[in-house]
Symmetry: C2
Subunit: 160 residues, 2 copies
DNA sequence: ATGTTATTGTTGGCTGGCCAAGTTTTTCGG
DNA sequence: CCGAAAAACTTGGCCAGCCAACAATAACAT
């Protein structure tokens, strides 16, 4: 490993430092701001960021086994468990054991949960509008493509 | 500007649901993947994602009062407090009270912290390389510009 | 000088998210 | 048929991050 670090020129100013990881930094900040904005919007309907994605997914896919949520949402099994426990406590989601395979838990959105879907979509629309304010349709398409590429780049190192 | 979105050309399929919040979704997923990737890299040097940004900032700015960190990093005061408590416990950061104003806490990176800066930058470089694999310099510039715009769009709703 | 307001930081509680280690059930191999 | 391996979740612990409520100090007004 680099036992050196001594190779560093004593120059106190390392203009590099401002450029290294510039993109990663920017992604980090955008992500935090985006999440915070989502949080503010979702708070109006009593949700935390992340929960709305779970509910939206369940709204689209009907009954789903938990392991599929893990794969499709790309989050840790333990995270899914805890999120569902909280959503269940709020009556937005139901879980029951699959009779054919008693390991799996089948998850479904409740009526109360469905009632929120409209407002969730509304929040999404507003959030995208805030995020992409001043973007032309062209810009948005470009952005979507870029995000897809980024996701593709980051995905492989996901499944390790 | 198109106030609508109804001006969608060639719209025949009305599965709105897949399009609503598409960008927000993508940002969400990219952000999670990016953070996870950062976590894997940082783990090698014993840090959690977020801490490296704090340390990098302190490395660049020397002594800083906590309230400035709140503003410059754009995170909650309580988050700063807790992060610094943990970093202090690890000996990477020092805090002392400002004698001229006993409310403020002045923060500085320690020698042990500085020793990590090189490896942190290395992680940043690697992460950006993973994230932007296959991106031309042009692509990266575009991406940086877009991220800056996104950040600008999301910032105002931050300071509420 | 003295009470009121603003600034600064802390604590507690809640979330999403990860990892590591466990439990239960199913499946597979001998 | 039975024991080992795999699959599907759960629990506990730790992190960042937010909000709300608090304590301490400074600045300001009267």
């Amino acid at each position: 490993m680099d036992t050196d670090g001594a190779a560093e020129p004593g120059a106190g100013i390392c203009d590099d430092r401002d450029r290294v990881g510039e993109i990663g930094h920017a992604i980090f900040r955008v992500a935090r701001a985006h999440r915070a904005a989502a949080g503010r919007l979702l708070r109006e309907i009593g949700l935390y960021p992340g929960q709305e994605i779970m509910l939206g997914h369940l709204g689209d896919h009907g009954q789903t086994r938990q392991s599929r949520l893990v794969v499709e949402l790309g989050i840790d099994p333990s995270t899914v468990t805890k999120m569902l426990q909280r959503l269940e406590r709020q009556g937005l989601v139901e879980r029951r054991a699959d009779p054919t395979d008693r390991r799996v838990a089948v998850v479904a959105i409740t009526e109360d949960g469905k009632d929120l879907l409209g407002r969730i979509e509304d929040s999404w629309r507003r959030l995208d509008e805030i995020t992409c304010a001043g973007f032309t349709d062209d810009d948005r398409d470009r952005l979507k493509r870029i995000l897809t590429r980024l996701e593709g780049n980051l995905a492989p190192c996901e499944e390790n």
